[in-house]
């Protein structure tokens, strides 16, 4: 995968705009007022979970060696190539639910309509056209982001180097924590 979805939980307000956008994208009408009337109700493929005092938007992690792909007895769950998200080919899904059993994140669901398994496909069609997934687009605070792995590693490197500076500076009182602690006394 060259792009992944990351979440900055400090920015998440748990407003659930992402959930609504996701459900709407998977509705029949794609129009909010009409989608709300559909039966079964449009299902969302991601959720904002409460974790302590935080809200955490969670969608399929598209694991590199994905347990759901490994266990699927019909090959319905697959990825087109190494860079693609994990998707379900409903026409091969016999509804046996083994994938739900092995997913560490609990993000696979039974589709209400035909009881095939449904899951986040990272809005694959949008991705192919250079757009971001619906949940990313809908997030008002920028808590959910689509980033390339290079961007992630770069910002991690930056964070790590800053931390090194902070820590090495603590003994010499050059900056940051150590200084502030002194000043506080």
């Amino acid at each position: 995968m060259d792009k992944i979805i990351i979440v900055d939980i400090e920015k998440c307000l748990a407003c659930k705009s992402c959930e609504i956008a996701c459900a709407l994208a998977h509705s029949r009408s794609k129009i909010l007022s009409e989608a709300a009337q559909e039966s079964p109700k449009p299902q969302r493929m991601m959720a904002v979970e409460a974790a302590g005092e935080y809200g955490v938007p969670i969608q399929c992690r598209h694991c590199e060696s994905a347990p759901c792909i490994e266990i699927c007895p019909t090959g319905a769950i697959h990825r087109e190539d190494e860079q693609s998200p994990v998707v379900v080919e409903a026409d091969l899904c016999i509804g046996c639910k083994l994938c739900m059993l092995v997913c560490p994140f609990g993000v696979l669901k039974i589709g209400k309509e035909g009881r095939a398994i449904i899951k986040c496909d990272m809005c694959y069609e949008r991705l192919k056209e250079g757009m971001v997934p619906e949940c990313v687009e809908a997030c008002p605070t920028g808590a959910i982001k689509l980033v390339s792995l290079e961007e992630v590693t770069k910002s991690r490197r930056k964070e790590a180097s800053e931390q090194i500076v902070r820590e090495s500076g603590s003994g010499k009182g050059r900056q940051g924590k150590a200084k502030r602690v002194k000043g506080g006394k």
Binding site: E49, G75, D91, I94, G95, V102, C103
Partner: protein, 459 residues
Amino acid sequence: MRKVVVIGGSAAGMMAAISAAVYDSNADVTVVSRDLTAYRRPGIPALVAGYISDPAGAGVFAGETLGQYKIRLICPAEVTNINVKTKTVSVQGEGKIQELGFDSAVIATGGYPIIPKIPGSEKKGVYTFTTFEGAQEIVEATREAETAVVVGAGFVALEIAESLMHKGLDVYFNVRSRILRKIVEPDVSEFLSRRFDKSGLKMLIGEAISEVGGAGSVEYVVHKSKKISTKVVIMGTGVKPSVSLAEKCGIALGSSGAIKVDNRMQTSVADIYAAGDCAESPDLGTGRFVYSPVGSIGAMAGRIAGANAAGGNEESKGFLRAQTDEILGMQIFSIGHSTTTAKEVNLAVTVRDLRAPVSGQDDRGAGSFETGKLLTDIDNRIVGAQLVSVYHGSQYAWQLYQAVLRGKDREKFLKEFNSPRRKFTETMLATAGSTISVENVGDDNALRWQNKLCQKQEQ
């Protein structure tokens, strides 16, 4: 060109056909199916709930998929005979009777619903639902009805009950023994019964209904000498293997009554294979042959049968039964053996209670479970696990699945399972069965093998 004929067009049959075509792309593969169109059986509750109105709503293995593998589908049509000497099957359908020759055949005729022998169970108003046609009758019958009685113990009966509740019916659920008897321990059954009852499913437990009464059609049932008015009785009491075709041509049956096969899914007759709800299958831990009518095993066995029918030499190391479902807000997981199934294969097991540090929804972020079980054999290897959760039980279920699949050592497993953040406790409950040692546990070759086929398919 090798001719492969598959009898049955559902999970096992279709996977056998695809697997045969993948194995030998020159093979001439034909599927004969009684179904109007192929559909996933687990889609049936969606029909009962009113979310879909025809089998196509839960359609699988569409023409496009089959076309891709050059598989010919003859449906709706019925195989009326297998002639093992001339290697032909008689097919009745499309307005004619034809003889199809084969080099190898796969029997994947599935199962048919058991109707318990209760006085009056032949009355109009008694339904089954293993096919869309059967379920369609339930849909018609429940359009006006206010009450329904579902008889059964397994997941599918519970799914149908929930679907009817969703439609606003008063639903009674009758279990002769206990809920999910085959796959969970007694106290888990009890726990679930209490919860379901609280959710509005009226439980009639501990005794079968003694009568289905009424003049002509159903008007009431009797349970523990209490009369309950209803016009609809649904039998969800499990399936029996459809073996009449196989029996007629002299194919041996196993002790369970399902078609006897070996680890290559071959029957007692050369070049004829069987898979799915009509056949037995090897159990992962013990290697013994059991009757496990679940779609996942049917599909895996179908793949092996199909590859071998096309000239391959694939062998199963045994299948691990693993099931999960969500019923009335409860996530239920059952992996590998329960004390009930362990007894069937003479496996001595020890059952332990697995308790999460928090129960209920207090610590929502971490996920939790209400009750859990860990089953080990005499060598302390994990052979089964059960979990009931209302919130993200899958966080633990996947670890338990891995543990059962690999037959992990219990103590080692618990060390991994208990991270610094969470501390699980377990209590020994009971030891059951006679002592028989288990060989072959801890082999993930079955999984590996599945992958191999997957990769082939992708190429």
